[in-house]
């Protein structure tokens, strides 16, 4: 590929009928509007980058394109012809292939099996292995892969798995390839090779829709940019004519330049109760210097994959790390969740259904499970009930009866039960990971009201969230993580949301 041919393809594509057009796409979920007038126009032979903050609607738009979601309004045109994409199968048939960030490959099968799963070359119902292998070699060469089609996918490095996923998209003869953060888990050298492959794809006349938080990559690989904000398309640019500062400004918008009303008042200048000097997991996070005083709520902001969840679970001892942490001045070793709980920690995990609750068990049992482990080891039921009832009442958990299975409650009430678990235990340090995920606005406000009450009673709270507005409104300080590092600390009373968002996206504090 020479620069001149690439240039000619780029210009040739822009005049013709766009291969894909999405107009005024609208999608509502109960309680939220995910998309409201999103437009996207993609030409063959171009890499089209979609940018936006967390929750701007990028994933929802791609899911509508792939056929996983049905839009509530708007239209989709392929080659200028309106189409209905009713299911992922129809999406594939229309030439749309999505490569998700969590690669949906089958790790125990070979590369060749993965490439042709569901459409293997066959005769009389028998897979013809030789043909499949030969075809696999062809497609692997196309993406510049050097590994064997007989390799087991799970044993390949992530970069090679990424190439396998791209090759699989080619086997279905996709004309529009969507890549959701393909480089999020790759090192620099691997990023370069993926970018090269992307360029060869568009040079063959395909269109690539590229979603990434890494703006430097967008500048390198992209031809055009569409910026989404709050579910609408707010800007379209040619990459060559604009720069990252412009995109960031579009992503942030101007609506939140002024300071929002902030709940967090000043906290007495006491010694930090939780002092995270350093937590590191090689290749994932290396965070230094986060302090939380008793009575303080500190937010952790960052893009998806910035390391918020990893940090909290490392501090809680749920995954091993190298760390030096002090609690109330004493050294603390995050050996296991049990050790953490004994030291006064409580974690409200990211996924309450798989990590936070035992859905089949009762409200009381869930609430008291962390507190009944002290002698005497008898009558946990009546003791659990006695411990739970006042706290459950105080939090206002709506439930039919204490013996009701917690899985039958609404999301907000489930989350309160997780919170109740640590209140009953008397935890002094609360780690909240996306505590409001999936809650409606009322439940969110209610949850933060309880968290503020806890802080007023002397708890030290560390809350990670992808919704900056929430953190700004409810925390005393916000620590920004970027690619596994803490890059700066902001006071929501002094810094506007726009400033903080800029830091979250760009990784620079100035």
């Amino acid at each position: 590929m020479t620069p001149s041919t690439a240039e000619s393809v780029r210009t040739a594509g822009s005049g013709a009928v766009p291969v894909l057009e999405m107009r005024g796409i609208r999608k509502e979920f109960p309680g939220t509007i995910a998309l409201d007038g999103a437009d996207l126009e993609v030409h063959a032979g171009q890499v089209h980058c979609v940018l936006g903050e967390n929750g701007a609607g990028k994933s929802t738009l791609m899911k509508i394109l792939s056929g996983s979601y049905q839009p509530d309004g708007g239209e989709i045109l392929i080659d200028g012809v309106p189409v209905q994409i009713g299911s992922p199968q129809q999406g594939l048939a229309a030439g749309i292939s999505v490569i998700y960030q969590e690669l949906d490959l089958f790790p125990d099968l070979t590369v060749a099996q993965n490439l042709f799963l569901g459409h293997a070359p066959s005769r009389f119902g028998m897979v013809s292995r030789a043909a499949r292998r030969a075809d696999a070699v062809t497609y692997l060469q196309k993406v510049g892969a050097t590994f064997s089609p007989d390799a087991i996918v799970g044993s390949l490095p992530i970069a090679d798995q990424q190439l396998t996923a791209i090759a699989r998209a080619l086997t279905t003869d996709a004309r529009i390839i969507v890549m959701d953060e393909p480089t999020a888990t790759l090192g620099e050298a691997d990023v370069d090779s993926v970018c090269r492959v992307i360029r060869t794809l568009v040079d063959e006349g395909r269109a690539v829709i590229y979603i990434s938080h890494r703006l430097a990559e967008v500048a390198t690989v992209g031809d055009r940019v569409t910026v989404l904000r709050d579910g609408s398309t707010v800007a379209r640019h040619a990459v060559a004519d604009t720069d990252a500062e412009q995109w960031i400004a579009d992503m942030i918008g101007d609506k939140r330049k002024e300071l929002t009303e902030v709940h967090g008042g000043a906290v007495a200048d006491a010694e930090p109760y939780l002092d995270i000097e350093r937590v590191s997991i090689p290749g994932l996070i290396d965070v230094e210097n986060i302090q939380v005083r008793a009575g303080e709520i500190v937010g952790i902001a960052g893009l998806g994959g910035a390391g918020r969840t990893t940090l909290l679970s490392a501090v809680f001892g749920a995954r091993s790390s190298r760390h030096s942490i002090r609690v109330a001045g004493e050294p603390y070793v995050a050996r296991s969740p049990r050790a953490a709980i004994r030291a006064g920690f409580g974690l409200v995990p990211e996924s309450r259904k798989t990590e936070g609750l035992m859905l089949g068990l009762s409200v009381w049992r869930n609430a008291a499970i962390s507190s009944i482990g002290r002698a005497p080891w008898l009558a946990p039921h009546s003791r659990g009930k006695a411990l739970s009832v006042p706290v459950i009442d105080r939090l206002g958990v709506k439930h039919a009866r204490g013996t009701q299975a917690v899985g039958e409650l609404s999301g907000g009430n489930q989350q309160k039960v997780v919170l109740a678990k640590w209140l009953i235990r008397g935890s002094r340090i609360l780690l909240l990971d996306e505590p409001t995920r999936g809650l409606d606005i009322g439940a969110k406000a209610d949850l933060y009201r309880q968290v503020r009450l806890l802080a007023e009673q002397g708890a030290a709270v560390l809350v990670a969230s992808s919704e900056l507005g929430e953190l700004v409104a409810n925390t005393h300080r916000i620590v920004v993580l970027h690619e596994g590092r803490a890059i700066g600390e902001f006071d929501p009373r002094l810094h506007s949301e726009a400033t903080i968002t800029h830091a979250i996206i760009s990784g620079k504090t100035s």
Partner: protein
């Protein structure tokens, strides 16, 4: 259905409060349906055969079901944590051999009992430790236990039966009656009651349900997950050893071939008793009734003169039907909730 969002599964995210009587009615039906089936079978049996409800027959029935029953009670705890223990039959046989060998060597009865029970517990703990600490599937670990412990049982005497003259003080445990009640039946009832108490009134019991319901959530809540998993296998080894000792005592001889296939009978009873193989749901009470139900059916077939080959087929079919019924009632209850 008005609180769901992007990440929620609509069917579980919303709370639709069921009307009181309905939810009570269905939960009563779920819990009570086994009891109803049991009652129906008993009524049918007593109508079909005048011999069924005689003191002798009922005593016999309890006697027959108690050994499998004791094993099944231990199995219940393992299954509640979403584990499985296939080695119980072999462990019971080995413990039965050891108690006889010890008594033949003129060991005092309490020492012989402790030795046999101790071996059972240790085998259970070893398998629990291997499975929990190395995170190997309990199915495979205990399958290996099934063959190797059976091998050990043969090795103790090179395959010969042992215990030709066991003391009468020992044989009375398995063969004796207290009034009209067989002592093994009383032991079965006692073991069941103690286990019910463990599940209901100790934190260990609470942890068993927590681990079985959601292991990760339990770990993040500070439950000592590995210890709980190891302990239930130790308990299962204990109940297997008790059953093994009782059989040796009843037959007044120990055979290394005893309890072949007992693990499957026990698992069948636990599942029929309403426990979920995925853990977190089930009860000793359910297992108890299921054990009785299975032996009543067998008894009924015998009284009716039905051949044992046909019995095997019928028992299997009934087991599946009971599970289908359970599942049906369960999903209806879930839809209402």
């Amino acid at each position: 259905m008005n609180e769901t969002t992007l990440t929620e599964n609509p069917s579980t995210a919303t709370a639709v409060t069921p009307s009181r009587w309905r939810s009570r009615g269905s939960s009563w039906l779920v819990k009570g349906n086994l009891l109803i089936v049991f009652a129906v079978v008993v009524v049918v049996a007593s109508l079909l055969s005048p011999d069924f409800l005689t003191v002798r027959n009922v005593a016999n029935l309890l006697q027959q079901s108690s050994l499998t029953g004791i094993i099944a009670v231990g199995m219940t705890l393992v299954i509640l944590t979403s584990g499985i223990d296939l080695s119980v039959g072999s462990t019971a046989a080995l413990s039965g051999m050891i108690v006889a060998i010890a008594l033949d060597g003129h060991a005092p009865i309490p020492v012989a009992l402790l030795l046999a029970v101790g071996v059972g517990v240790v085998i259970g703990l070893v398998m629990g430790t291997v499975s929990a600490s190395l995170r190997l599937p309990a199915f495979i670990v205990t399958l290996a236990g099934l063959t190797s412990v059976r091998g050990l049982a043969y090795l103790t005497t090179d395959g010969r039966p042992v215990g030709q003259d066991l003391p009468a003080e020992f044989t009375v445990i398995g063969g004796g009656y207290l009034g009209i009640v067989p002592i093994t039946g009383l032991i079965f009832i006692a073991v069941s009651l103690i286990t019910v108490a463990i599940l209901k009134f100790t934190t260990f019991g609470e942890y068993i349900y927590a681990v079985g319901s959601n292991e990760e959530a339990a770990r993040l809540s500070g439950v000592p997950v590995r210890l709980v998993q190891i302990a239930v296998f130790g308990f299962s080894g204990l109940t297997a050893a008790i059953a093994g000792i009782l059989l040796t005592s009843r037959l007044t001889i120990a055979q290394p071939t005893a309890f072949q296939g007992a693990e499957l009978d026990a698992i069948a009873a636990v599942v029929l008793g309403g426990a979920s193989l995925f853990g977190g749901r089930g009860s000793v009470g359910g297992t108890f009734i299921a054990v009785l139900l299975l032996s009543v059916l067998k008894n009924l077939f015998n009284l009716m003169g039905i051949g044992s080959f046909f019995q095997m087929v019928a028992t299997g079919v009934i087991l599946v039907l009971a599970l289908v019924l359970n599942k049906f009632i369960d999903s209806r209850a879930a839809r209402r909730a």
